[in-house]
Amino acid sequence: MTKDETKQAVLDIIADIAPDEDISNLKPDVRLRDQMQLDSMDFLDIVMELRKRHGIEVPEADYPQLASLDSCAEYLTPKFTALGK
């Protein structure tokens, strides 16, 4: 999976957990929580959906790695790759 594909996978999740938000212009290098209404429970939703949809575990210590789309891509792409995706 490419980094762009990883970003899209994360965006697909965000679209479902924040259905009222316009996510078409999210800046990849800016913290997600600075660009949209995203509380701690929503953040846990992202973690849960990564687990449910993709079998990816994100330990609590690594949550900061999911701050922006770019950091998501950096952190998650190797995990997708390790799973053969």
């Binding site: 259905p19 009222d20 939703d45 849960m48 687990r51």
Partner: protein, 413 residues
């Protein structure tokens, strides 16, 4: 000199029923004989009957709020917002810490728990897939708490668990809190999301108490010989209640006045009703209102269309209202099924307009009246315009033998 508690009046109504999403729509359908039962797929059980509400959930909530919250919370928010709007109170400037939210529920948490178990069943029951929203969704105060969040109410907001007597209980408790001076404005009544839990269906099915009929609209048939059980429904009715002086001071429209009430317990069985205790509940409510049976012009029955329960309630009503030529009896579940925690509150709402139009809505679907339910003045299949409607008595009874009777009278200054 005895203590005279403040008079409490109804100043707003918000509701959603399987056959209407406003009081006027609901009332029109009750007078026109229009019910609202349909077929619904129930998890593990297949196609069954349900009273489904079709209100606009996005009118007062975002998609995210709907995703995070519960159906009971959403119904509560819709009803609360509609009631507040109907009351025409200056809500924006009203002290939010002086508002109480009292929501009656039959149960809460079954739907959300079943959904989570179903969800983790897709992951070999691994609990790491269990939602972090489970606890806020299933705490028993959830429906009232969602109202407080949505409306920014910082006063007391909680539910009252009272099985199917709960709708009345919401109003009764609110009246008590207003009289105690705990709050200055109350949003109260009952809600139900029970059609979304297979467990309620399966429980009634195992009890042989679940209605079936080829025509969904004919399935809920209290007092008919062919009745064969309950149609489970969702819904809600929340009212705004105020002390009379406050309502008059702001020029509020007054739907009616809380005249009296009683809550008691059978202490005799988990599920079987007790007509003696029901009659006692009605008598005590009359006493608290300072009324005689003859003073009641409409008795709205709880009857759920179970073979035994209807007869027992008719025994209780027949005993109390034996010599009351101006007392008419009706039933609302024949249109909307059993809205569980919302039942008492919705059924009261359906009758409130009788103070204005002097018409008693009928109980429908009575093709063959059970002689054991043939109460005098039972209004069947056609509405009846009567000479006087000054007081409505509303019965709601629930499992574990909880009974509630609420009397609302025409407001007279």
């Amino acid at each position: 000199m005895s203590f005279q508690p403040p008079r409490i009046v109804i100043t707003g109504v918000g509701l959603t029923a399987p056959n209407g999403n406003t009081l006027s729509e609901f009332r029109k359908n009750l007078l026109d004989g229009v019910g609202g039962i349909e077929k619904k797929e129930i998890r593990y059980m297949g196609e069954l009957l349900a009273g489904v509400c079709h209100y606009d959930a996005l009118k007062y909530q975002t998609k995210k709020e709907l995703r995070v919250g519960t159906r009971a919370g959403s119904i509560s928010i819709y009803c609360a917002r509609e009631a507040v709007a109907d009351s025409k109170i200056d809500f924006a400037s009203f002290a939010k810490d002086r508002i109480g939210v009292y929501v009656g529920t039959t149960e809460h948490g079954n739907v959300e728990t079943e959904n989570e178990i179903y969800a983790i069943s897709k992951f070999n029951y691994d609990t790491k897939y269990w939602s972090h929203y489970h606890n806020p969704r299933t705490v028993s105060n959830n429906p009232a708490g969602e109202v407080s969040l949505n409306l920014g109410i910082t006063g007391p907001a909680y539910t009252i668990g009272a099985a199917c007597a709960a709708g009345n209980m919401g109003l009764i408790h609110a009246a008590q809190m207003l009289r105690l001076g705990e709050v200055d404005f109350a949003i109260c009544g009952g809600v139900s999301e029970s059609i979304h839990t297979f467990g309620i269906y399966a429980g009634f099915k195992s009890q042989n108490a679940l209605a079936s009929h080829a025509d969904p609209l004919k399935a809920s048939r209290p007092f008919d010989k062919g009745r064969n059980g309950i149609v489970i429904s969702e819904g809600g009715a929340l009212y705004t209640l105020e002390r009379l002086d406050d309502a008059i001071a702001r020029g509020a429209k007054i739907y009616g006045e809380i005249a009296g009430y009683c809550v008691n317990s059978d202490a005799s069985d988990y599920v079987l009703p007790n007509p003696g205790r029901q009659a006692e509940c009605v008598r005590k409510a009359l006493k608290s209102a300072g009324m005689a049976p003859q003073d009641i012009h409409i008795v709205n029955t709880h009857a759920t269309a179970t073979p035994l329960g209807d007869i027992q309630e008719c025994q209780a009503i027949g005993e109390v209202f034996a010599n009351c030529p101006d007392t008419y009896i009706n039933n609302t579940k024949s249109y909307i099924g059993h809205c569980m925690g919302a039942a008492g509150a919705l059924e009261l709402a359906g009758n409130l307009p009788s103070f204005d139009d002097l018409t008693v809505h009928p109980t429908i679907n009575v093709d063959d009246l059970d002689p054991q339910c043939a109460l005098p003045n039972l209004v069947i299949n056609q509405p009846k315009t009567v000479g006087k409607v000054d007081a409505i008595l509303n019965n709601s009874f629930g499992m574990l033998g909880i009974n509630s009777t609420l009397i609302v009278k025409r407001f007279v200054a």
